[in-house]
Symmetry: none
Subunit: 116 residues, 2 copies
């Protein structure tokens, strides 16, 4: 069951994405061009980023804004990679799409225990 109630997905996602990149708040802040305290406010306080800061954070972390916003479930390794793959999916025939689905399904199941 989806234990994570949507208390504040953004905070979680931001922290997760930052951890994924192995950055501390100050480093992320530098990359995104904003003060360290702001990052902390986003992760712990009630603040939500503005239009521009959201973009800056997503770019600095190389994740989609949809992920940060909780609109997409993808931990989003590389936006470019996933983007290309997704674009290519559109070129597939119906049955090839099914093939691809099965293949990915396999990978997912196989990779679950290798979480970390």
């Amino acid at each position: 069951m989806p234990t994570s109630e949507p208390i504040d997905i953004f905070k979680e996602r931001l922290k997760a994405a930052r951890a994924l990149r192995g950055l501390n708040q100050a480093e992320l802040a530098a990359k995104a061009g904003l003060p360290p305290a702001s990052v902390s406010h986003f992760e712990s306080g009630p603040r939500k980023p503005s239009f521009d800061n959201l973009k800056a954070l997503a770019t600095a972390l190389d994740v989609t804004t949809d992920y940060l916003l909780g609109r997409a479930d993808t931990p989003e390794a590389s936006a470019a990679t996933v983007g290309r793959l997704h674009r290519d999916l559109g070129k597939l025939t119906e049955q090839d799409l099914k093939l691809a689905t099965e293949f990915v399904d396999l990978l997912v199941k196989r990779g679950i225990k290798e979480g970390e």
Copy 2:
């Protein structure tokens, strides 16, 4: 000289996405739970949407926020076609993602020669 840089991509994208759905500002506003004037402000004025309103707009239009923000090139939100697959991609490890990419790449190339 990249002077041709759109001054405000968001405005364009918002208008485009709305047109794509065949909605007028009032209708979009209703769907997103906003006053019609706000939509107009976004499309024509200097205002940029807040965190919550950005989400609302993207949801109402069924596009990614990355698209609206100009961080992605395709509206590509309605993952209805490849929904499950796209969702699963997020669960893949970096290297499995690469595998999947190659696999799909193969299918695409193979499918092209077989006509449509």
